[in-house]
Amino acid sequence: MAKRVLVVDDEPNIVLSLEFLMRRAGFEVQVARSGGEALKALEGEPPDLMLLDVMMPEFDGYEVCERIRARPDWNKTKIVMLTARGREAERERGLALGADAYVTKPFSTRDLVDQVKRMLEVG
């Protein structure tokens, strides 16, 4: 069964590219355009991994991350945070909140795909 990846970002073009990349890598892809949508998407069946943008309106990626990690039944979902803010402090904050990886935009698509595959132990 294909692993499921949830893409969360408010930039339509970035969502589009990530969706394309993940699909190509053989994952089942689900899309959310805000923090709220992301949490809603998790309620059903939590994905194996999520690509989570930090800078989003309403609640941002940090908050989403925190909420996910507060739920034991969502523990298995791996979180890769994506951000256009590259400061070290923010990276640490993301990891402290329970993110599994932290990727700075713009990123190498190949590296990102490899990392996701590695984390999901496929390929």
Partner: protein
């Protein structure tokens, strides 16, 4: 001179030398701060200076004649110690609080620092102590006489033409001068002297007990044998009250006199009050001292009875202590007995003369000498030698007075009778002292009147009769009264008879003394100073408990005077009006100022002259120390200087404070700017990275996936293109903004037509508007709208507004209307739409950097840079206009801006 007398003289001299050494040692220890007398035991022993030759020899004399009639002398101090220890403690507290140096000083301080009171007390003390000193002289002289007579060598001394009493007097005077006037400072404790007399108290006690033990067990078979033999000898009445020949009134009066004497005799006041090192010692002494009295009196009756049983007469009984060992061949015991008597006498003489001579110099002679201007003493730098000279003269005077009294009167009287004269004399201090610390109403006039009258009554009813007894005055004076005036008989004044002469004197003198003190005090007005001193003495405990002595006790009038003096009449009156309003009635000058009033007055003064000066001034005024004009000017001058200095300091400090505040504000502003710049950079970085991410991702996707179909490929390429454009716009905007903000913008300012500008913008926007299917309404008047601005920049503003509007209008059905209006002094451009509008709370923040309106707009993020409105505002404001958001007639938002009309434009001038 026989062996015993020689030995006695030698032992006496050795003993005096030892005392001297002891005193020196005590003084040296005190100087080094390692006092040997700072304990209740030495204090108690020093109090036992009360037991003089009177106790040592005289009590036996009285006991021989009157049995237990000798007891009142010891009952009085015992009761004083047991019952009135609180009273004694209060006197100690006062004396320590106000640096009292003698009983005269005490009385004077209480009664308004009156020199009259001090001098009068000194005279009474001197006159009263003369009989007492003569008693000691008599005892010692008699003792020596006995020793010499026993040796059978009386002829030797009389052969020298010597008068034993005079020799004793001169020796004691020399010793006292050497002993008592080593130091000048009367306020310091005489620790060496106290140590010496404490030692003497032990010596006399041991010697007396030795004689008592010898008589009781040596001459008799113990106390019971002694009592039995006494009854056999018909002396049984000596054991009961009947044999005392004293009435109940006598008992009461004599006990009272003794109790008073234990405190008021100059030497007693000296050791009890002045030499006291710690008030706490009084507590232990209050039972140790009575114990000492009890022990030293144990053998009085046995010795007296023994002497009588063995054939002595009551007339000789004063010398039983010495005579009994002598008669029974106990030479060494006799010597010891003599030594004890000597120690009792010397202790008394030393302390008494030190106390009296200090009073004579400080309270009588020096004040008079200083007042005699001709002597110019006030200007002499060093009066030490003079003061010491006066004290030495005082000692000599007291001792010679005692000698003369002894010669004239004393030889005919018993020791105790002489002693009682002194007791009754110093008892005259009691009313002014007791009432002085218990009743604030007692004043100087009352004290002087009472003391003087009491003293005169004492002289008349007790001293005068003693001269009669001595045969110096005719007996008719006592028997019939002066000029046969019966009512004035000295020992039965106004018919009061049936009393012991001492009781008679005490009752009359104390009644007259107390009565006059109360009466005159009630009838005369005290000065402010007296009133204040009265408060300080009577309320000493409260005064000491509160940090400020006067709190709540100063007179309102005195405070008002102070305020007038330092604040000026108007300010003082204002304060007074406030105080009156506070009370709802005017303040009486005589009423006691409550704590609040004193505090507020002090605060007012403190404002004028500073806190320390205010406190000092209030303190000095309330203590009654008049502040003379010189001192006042000095204070004011100082105050002025301090005020000026403090004013300048304050000014400097204010300036500094202002500078600091400015610096702090600048620093805060800098930090704020720094933070803003930081935020801006972070945001710019984010905004730049976002399109870059898309561009890179899709480029890589296209590169890695050559198999994509053409449509998808084209889609991705379009995205790359549009994101590149977005990136370009963003970079342009950031650069623009940065140029504008840093003032490096190259403005092309020139007269322009705002109508033309709007039309140009509309033309430029047509593409977007058509693309988004937005219906545009344009309402621009034909006549020119002259403004002064950078045309291209204002076109940019209008274009930005149109572009914004087109982004927010619904799709399809979007409507935008642009209008140019002429208003009061300005042209207004309005861009309205039928979009969702901007909520009032957001209408200001939309102009902030990177603020992007959110809201569900077809789930499409606005594609602006977030800097458009920020830049627009900068441009509009640069040319004196204003930009804002309001509600639109179309149902959405209206973005409006104004530019001032160019009044100088030729089109308008025409």
């Amino acid at each position: 001179m026989g062996a015993l007398a020689t030995a006695a003289v030698l032992v006496s001299l050795l003993y005096l030398g030892l005392l001297f050494a002891l005193a020196s040692w005590g003084d040296r220890r005190a100087e080094r701060g390692r006092s040997v007398i700072a304990n209740p035991y030495v204090y108690t022993l020093s109090l036992a200076v009360y037991c003089t030759a009177w106790t040592y020899f005289g009590s036996v004399g009285v006991a021989a004649a009157q049995g237990v009639g000798f007891l009142p002398v010891y009952l009085g101090p015992t009761l004083l110690a047991f019952l009135f220890v609180g009273f004694v403690r209060k006197i100690l507290v006062i004396a320590k609080a106000y640096g009292i140096t003698s009983i005269a000083d005490f009385a004077s301080a209480r009664y308004g620092k009156s020199g009259t009171v001090a001098g009068l007390v000194t005279i009474v003390a001197l006159v009263g102590s003369i009989p007492y000193i003569s008693l000691q002289l008599k005892a010692v002289a008699t003792g020596i006489g006995l020793l010499i007579a026993h040796d059978g060598s009386g002829a030797v001394l009389s052969g020298l033409g010597a008068d034993t009493a005079l020799i004793v007097t001169l020796l004691l005077a020399a010793f006292s001068i050497l002993f008592g006037t080593r130091h000048i400072d009367a306020t310091e404790h005489h620790q060496g002297m106290v140590l010496a007399i404490a030692f003497e108290s032990i010596v006399k006690l041991v010697c007396f007990l030795a004689v008592g033990v010898f008589v009781t067990w040596g001459l008799f078979g113990g106390p019971f044998d002694l009592l039995d033999r006494a009854r056999e000898a018909g002396l049984g009445d000596r054991l009961g009250f009947a044999g005392t020949r004293l009435t109940a009134a006598d008992w009461f009066v004599l006990t009272l006199l003794s109790g008073l004497a234990a405190l008021l005799l100059p030497r007693q006041f000296q050791v009890v009050v002045i030499e006291n090192l710690e008030i706490g010692h009084v507590k232990r002494a209050s039972w140790l001292f009575p114990l000492y009295l009890l022990v030293i009196n144990l053998f009085v009756l046995p010795i007296a009875l023994g002497g009588l049983i063995l054939g002595g007469s009551t007339r000789e009984a004063d010398s039983f202590v010495l005579a009994l060992p002598l008669v029974h061949g106990q030479g060494w015991l006799a010597l010891l007995a003599f030594l004890g008597g000597l120690s009792a006498a010397t202790a008394m003489v030393i302390v008494e003369t030190v106390a009296v001579s200090t009073m004579i110099s400080n309270d009588l002679v020096m004040p008079i000498l200083l007042r005699v201007g001709a002597l110019g003493l006030a200007n002499k730098p060093d009066l030490t030698r003079l003061i010491l000279g006066v004290r030495r003269a005082g000692i000599l005077l007291a001792l010679l007075g005692g000698y003369l009294f002894f010669h004239g009167v004393g030889e005919a009287m018993g020791l105790v009778s002489i002693g009682y004269i002194a007791f009754a004399g110093v008892a005259q201090f009691a009313p002014l002292l007791v009432l002085g610390i218990a009743w604030k109403g007692a004043n100087r006039n009352g004290a002087v009147a009472g003391l003087l009258a009491g003293f005169l009554v004492w002289l008349y009813t007790l001293v005068l009769p003693s001269f009669v007894t001595a045969g110096m005055l005719p007996g008719s004076l006592v028997a019939e009264g002066p000029f046969g005036f019966d009512l004035l008989r000295p020992t039965a004044l106004f018919g009061l008879s049936g009393l012991n002469p001492v009781s008679h004197c005490a009752i009359w003198s104390l009644a007259v003394n107390t009565g006059l003190l109360v009466l005159v005090s009630l009838l005369t007005r005290p000065s402010d100073l007296e009133r204040l001193q009265a408060i300080l003495f009577v309320d000493v405990e409260q005064s000491r408990r509160t940090p400020r002595l006067w709190r709540g006790e100063a007179r309102a009038g005195a405070l008002q005077e102070l305020l007038v003096r330092f604040l000026g009449r108007p300010a003082a009156d204002a304060v007074w009006r406030t105080e009156a309003a506070r009370r709802g009635r005017p303040l009486e000058p005589d009423e006691a100022a409550d704590a609040g009033l004193v505090e507020r007055a002090e605060r007012q003064l403190a404002r004028a002259i500073g806190a320390a000066s205010a406190r000092a001034v209030i303190a000095s005024a309330v203590r009654g120390e008049t502040v003379g004009p010189d001192a006042l000017m000095e204070i004011l001058d100082e105050t002025q200087k301090v005020l000026e200095y403090s004013r300048r300091l304050e000014q400097k400090s204010n300036e500094l404070e202002a500078a600091t505040a400015e610096l702090r504000r600048a620093n805060e502003r800098l930090q704020e700017l720094d933070r803003l710049k930081d935020d801006f950079l972070a945001t710019v970085s984010h905004e730049l990275r976002t399109p870059l991410t898309s561009i890179r991702s899709f480029s890589e996707i296209l590169l890695d996936n050559p198999d994509l179909d053409a449509e998808e490929r084209a889609h991705f390429l379009r995205i790359i293109t549009s994101e590149s454009e977005r990136l370009t716009r963003l970079i342009n905007d950031v650069l623009d903004l940065s140029k504008i903000e840093s003032g490096r913008m190259d403005w092309q300012v020139a007269p322009a037509d705002l109508g033309e500008i709007v039309r140009a913008a509309v033309r430029a926007a047509e593409g977007i508007l058509t693309e988004r299917a937005v219906a545009l309404e344009v309402a621009i008047p034909a006549e020119p709208a002259p403004v002064v601005c950078d045309r291209d920049r204002v076109v940019q503003v209008v274009l930005n507004l149109l572009s914004n509007a087109s982004k927010f209008v619904p799709k399809p059905g979007g409507r935008v209307r642009i209008e140019l209006l002429r208003k009061d002094g300005v042209f207004e451009v309005r861009v309205e739409d039928n979009g969702p509008g901007v909520p009032p709370a957001q209408r200001e923040v939309v102009f902030e950097k990177f603020h992007q309106l959110t809201g569900d707009l077809n789930t499409q993020k606005p594609t602006g840079t977030g800097l458009g409105l920020t830049i627009s505002r900068q441009i509009v404001e640069r040319f004196g206009g204003r930009i804002w958001v309001e509600d639109s007639n179309l149902g959405g938002a209206a973005l409006c801006f104004t530019l001032p009309i160019d009044e100088a434009a030729p089109a308008l001038a025409a």
